[in-house]
């Protein structure tokens, strides 16, 4: 088994081991089944962070390996969240409505139940009729299928249009950003059928699990997120190893050359784009039940740019880098913006970290881009002794944005 996936990617086993240890530690320390040293809300934060790590892997796959700087993957993430949120909201409202209508002397007709659910859900945007996109909301399997299908299809159509007309580089980034903006603006409308800027709420209550305390639910979702992350990591490692991985890295480094070698560059790009959109959708479907609420602001273009920031800080072109980046930066963000960091008095001015964290993040990000383009993951190269070649500012080759593998191996 010299060429097995794990042999070629020793980092996969290490990562899985560390993840398992982390999950075990949180389970033991957490509130649901363990000792209760970690609060339920922090378990939820950790679970959400694992979902963010998963979408960061998707981003790394599409940007770090294939060279497509997509500023739209958080849109897919949000779409996945909306798809699962529709079922969660429908099913939970249904149980509430059925319970309240059962109080009445005359048993309700199916139409009455549906009308009552519609009034409950859409009353806030002044409607009571179900829009067409809620047609499958009553069924968990169908809605779970949509978690995969909707982001996947959107990515497929958008990617096909974009790659077909050879939109590359910063143009593609701006185009994906425009797509995200269009989607979030669309969802902001009250008549989009997804409750406008109210979004979907109450998602933390799982229908049929009303008796299960949140502490237990949170640990279940934590396990689910960890399992999804592990699976996503293995799939991503599988994709980037072997011939397919070589081709997509080739596309990243010199798209024209790969095309002239006879590869269908567009198909490769489209596959990676769609696959990562699906992964993002699944990550979103796991994230939002833990967050409890989803609204269009979550899908604003800025979120996708932050995603790129995480991956860049963690280290592009290596999967563990993406995970580290997303984990570290999002946890730090939570810590700083949560107001838990003590203020820093400077005599004339007291630095309140809630206000200054973004400044710190922005400047830190610029510094990482300038001085440590490999990100945090680059630290592991110091351990393994891999050094970047000293180019003294010379041209980096045809596509100047990336490292050639040979250089990285030196």
């Amino acid at each position: 088994m010299k060429d097995s996936l794990f042999a070629r990617n020793p980092s996969v086993l290490i990562f899985l081991g560390l993840l398992a240890a982390f999950v075990a530690a949180v389970t033991v320390l957490g509130e649901g089944v363990g000792m209760g040293l970690i609060s339920t809300s922090f378990v939820k934060t950790l679970g959400k962070t694992l979902c963010l790590c998963l979408i960061a892997i998707a981003m790394d796959l599409v940007w770090g390996y294939t060279g497509i700087l997509s500023l739209g993957h958080f849109a897919f993430f949000g779409l996945g969240g909306y798809m699962i949120g529709m079922w969660l909201m429908y099913a939970r409202t249904e149980t509430i409505v059925a319970a309240s209508l059962a109080q009445a002397e005359i048993p309700p007709t199916p139409q009455e139940i549906r009308d009552a659910i519609g009034t409950q859900i859409f009353g806030v945007v002044g409607g009571s009729d179900f829009p067409a996109i809620w047609a499958f909301a009553h069924s968990l399997p169908l809605q779970l299928a949509l978690v995969v299908l909707v982001p996947g299809l959107l990515a497929l159509v958008f990617g096909w249009l974009a790659f077909r007309s050879r939109v590359t580089g910063v143009y593609l980034s701006i185009l994906t950003q425009a797509m995200t903006l269009a989607l979030s603006l669309y969802l902001f409308q009250n008549d989009s059928g997804l409750r406008g800027n109210n979004g979907l709420s109450g998602l933390q209550n799982i229908p049929g699990a009303a008796d299960v305390p949140q502490s237990l639910l949170s640990i279940w979702f934590f396990w689910g997120s960890a399992a999804a992350l592990a699976l996503g990591y293995v799939i991503a490692a599988f994709v980037v190893s072997g011939k397919f991985g070589s081709v997509i890295r080739g596309i990243r480094d010199d798209e024209a050359r790969v095309r002239f070698l006879g590869y269908s560059v567009e198909s490769y790009k489209l596959f990676v784009f769609t696959l990562t959109a699906v992964i993002a959708g699944i990550a979103g479907a796991l994230y939002y039940p833990q967050a409890g609420i989803i609204n269009p602001a979550e899908m604003a273009p800025i979120a996708s740019i932050y995603l790129a920031v995480w991956v860049a800080i963690g280290g592009r072109g290596r999967l563990y880098g993406a995970v580290i980046g997303a984990g570290v930066v999002s946890l730090l963000s939570t810590w700083f913006t949560g107001g838990q960091v003590p203020d820093l008095p400077l005599g004339i001015y007291t630095i309140k970290w809630v206000d200054w964290w973004q400044v710190l993040l922005g400047l830190g990000f610029v510094l990482v881009t300038l001085f440590a383009p490999k990100g945090i993951g680059g630290l592991f190269d110091l351990v393994s002794g891999r050094r970047a070649p000293a180019r003294h500012g010379a041209d980096l080759g045809p596509d100047t944005g990336s490292f050639r593998e040979k250089e990285a191996e030196q």
Partner: protein, 673 residues
């Protein structure tokens, strides 16, 4: 009492006749005839006698009966009539209890009232407050007096008061005004006012003239007139109410259109509701009421013999209700067949409030003609709006076009430079209170501030990333979020005002439909100025030459003695400086917040990408396209600007499919690939 008043009225009539025989009664009365004034009020002045004639009506003071009294005053032709009516309206007319004569009065020393003769305006003695009654007309009477006064105001010597009277009639016209207006046109000397009077007369003719031919003529004369007042006069004529009648509509109804139940205009449920409201059909019970009725008649777990658990379908409930109705426990409700039969037996139609078909037809024709012309003008108005939006996008994008197009550098912090410019303007206004001066200072200062920021950013960050475009994008994004938060920390989260000078307030009104605010014209001019400046710099200066050289081939340019580093720095500074100026312009009509730049950055990118990179004319075309597109979509779907933006972005994504390199694409080596 009655005898006395009859006698008094005779006396008054006699005195009027006497006075009328006398040449120039008003003159005779107004003369300073000392003896008469001394002897008390002049009981024979014509105005006083008119009041005395109508004394009973005035004393009764009821809105329904006061009409003849006011009319008598109005039509008397006496110069004093106007002042009497005005004083009466202002509750300044008094009646002496002892002899019933009317006076004006004003407070005098010692708590008494000084009485003033209503014809001459001269003091005629004093009276204690309890010797006189103050006339207190209610609001209805005051309204009637006001309408009567209009006639006097229309012929007032002061043009301002005549104009004010026209305004008052325009606001709420009454049938009486028509006659007054017609009487006042011929004597009008001011041509402007004369035209206004004539126009108002035609408008009132449409509304109040009893002769249909005159009305139609007036309506026809307004075909194609854009005035809002014309539409306000015509629309009530064509207003319809929905009506229902058994069989065919009755004769004499001015039917606008027949309606079929079940069509889009009239759904069956709505048609049946009309029938019920007109008392022509029995109401159909609502599902909720039916349910409640059933719930009220539960016996031993059944309703009318049907078990409760079976009542979870509409058919079962219908059966149960019918059974209850058959037993007489609930009022019977209309069945589906009954509803259909009732709908078939009646005709539904829209009915004009105006009974004359010829008038409504003429009004419809005139309105159609007006609507067409309004449509044309709306297109013009929309184009002006779109043009101003385009110039805003152009201003926001031109700096980006320089950095992105000429240098190939994506500057995500461009929006924050716009914001910096706007905040610079705000700070200047805090220091310099004169708005005109402060704007004149703010424009170059904003340029200087953002120029410096741009140069600093180029020196510190961007020059190290010239061959890594995607990382430039990310690094500038880092700067963008840092700057945004910094602005939030300094200026707070609430919006800061950037006030425009007062000479930019208001709008240029071409007619009632087309208008454009001066501030938008100013922005348009500013955009043109910057276009000219940019073209001048690029085509006519040494700097422009060097920029073009460095853009096309940096190494060759360097070997010709041009310093590419310096050129890049200056170009970036120039682009950033223009962003700052755009920020001042945008801040003038939008609120200045730390998120100001974010609102424009995506549109700016779109403008550059759609227009084509590296070409100022492309940016101009891109901005025009996007501005017109956005306004056009907003016009199609006016209630929803969010949807407009969504569709616009979708359109742009599709447009990129057709022309991936924008409207004006660079060809050859300059394209870079």
């Amino acid at each position: 009492m009655r005898l006395f008043s009859v006698f008094f009225a005779c006396l008054v009539v006699v005195s009027v006749v006497f006075a009328a025989l006398d040449a120039g009664p008003a003159l005779a009365q107004s003369g300073p005839v000392g003896a008469e004034v001394e002897s008390g009020p002049d009981q024979t002045s014509p105005i006083q006698s008119i009041l005395q004639e109508n004394r009973e009506l005035i004393e009764k003071s009821s809105r329904r009966t006061i009409g003849p009294a006011i009319a008598a005053l109005r039509d008397s032709g006496l110069p004093a009539a106007q002042s009497v009516l005005e004083k009466w309206q202002d509750k300044a007319l008094y009646q002496r209890k002892s002899d019933g004569l009317f006076f004006f009065a004003e407070p005098a020393d010692g708590g008494t009232l000084r009485l003033i003769d209503i014809a001459t305006g001269e003091a005629t003695g004093e009276a204690a407050r309890d010797e006189v009654d103050q006339l207190k007309p209610n609001s209805g009477i005051r309204g009637l007096i006001g309408a009567a006064l209009v006639q006097f105001q229309l012929s007032d010597p002061d043009p301002a008061r005549r104009a004010a009277a026209l305004d008052a009639i325009g606001r709420d016209a009454e049938p009486d005004h028509l006659q007054a207006l017609r009487g006042a046109i011929a004597s009008e000397t001011d041509p402007g006012l004369k035209a206004r009077k004539a126009r108002l007369e035609r408008l009132l003719t449409i509304a109040y003239d009893p002769d249909p031919a005159a009305r139609i003529a007036a309506i026809d004369s307004f075909a194609g007139d854009l005035g809002v007042d014309v539409r306000a006069a015509l629309n009530p004529l064509v207003a319809t109410t929905r009506a229902v009648a058994p069989g065919t509509p009755p004769e004499g109804e001015n039917v606008a259109r027949r309606l079929t139940p079940g069509s889009d205009a009239l759904p069956e449920a709505e048609a049946y509701r009309l029938l019920v409201a007109a008392g022509l059909a029995r109401p159909r019970i609502s599902p909720a009421d039916k349910r409640n009725a059933l719930a009220a008649h539960i016996e031993n777990g059944t309703v009318a013999g049907i078990p409760l658990e079976d009542l979870n379908s509409d058919e079962a409930r219908d059966r149960a209700y019918a059974a209850l109705a058959a037993r007489g426990l609930v009022p019977p409700t209309a069945t589906a067949q009954g509803v259909q039969a009732a709908l078939d037996a009646h005709s539904f139609y829209d009915r004009y409030a105006e009974p004359d078909p010829a008038v409504t037809a003429a009004a419809e024709d005139a309105l159609d003609a007006i609507a067409f012309k309004v449509g044309l003008n709306q297109v013009a108005d929309l184009s002006l709006d779109a043009l101003s939006l385009a110039s805003i996008y152009f201003l926001a994008a031109i700096g980006l076009a320089i950095t992105f197009g000429v240098m190939g550098v994506i500057n995500m912090a461009h929006g924050e430079f716009i914001m910096m410019g706007a905040y610079t303007g705000y700070v200047v206004q805090q220091i310099v209170p004169n708005y005109t001066v402060s704007i004149l200072i703010a424009l170059p200062l904003a340029f200087a501030v953002t120029f410096a920021a741009g140069v600093a950013m180029e020196r510190l960050v961007i020059r190290w990333l010239y061959n890594r475009p995607l990382e430039t994008l990310l690094a500038t994004f880092g700067i963008s979020i840092a700057l945004q938060q910094l602005a939030k920390n300094i200026f707070g989260t609430q919006a800061r005002p950037l006030t425009s000078p007062s000479w930019l307030d208001g709008a240029l009104q071409l007619n009632d439909v087309v208008s454009i605010s001066y501030i938008r014209i100013a922005i348009f001019v500013l955009a043109l100025l910057f276009l000219a400046l940019f073209v001048f710099i690029m085509r006519r200066t040494r700097l422009g030459l060097e920029v073009r050289a460095v853009t096309q081939n940096p190494r060759m340019a360097a070997s010709m003695g041009i310093n590419p580093d310096r050129i890049n720095m200056l170009t970036f500074g120039l682009g950033s400086g223009i962003a700052g100026v755009a920020g001042v312009a945008i801040g003038l009509y939008a609120k200045v917040t730390s998120e100001l730049g974010q609102d424009y950055i995506v549109q700016s990118f779109m403008t550059v990408v759609v227009g084509g990179v590296g070409n100022i004319w492309g940016t101009l075309l891109g901005a025009t396209l996007i501005g017109f597109l956005q306004k056009g979509i907003e016009w199609l779907n006016p209630s929803n600007t969010l949807a407009a933006q969504t569709y616009m972005i979708l359109f742009i994504i599709l447009f990129i499919q057709v022309r991936p390199r924008g409207i004006i694409a660079l060809r050859g080596r300059a394209a870079g690939d």
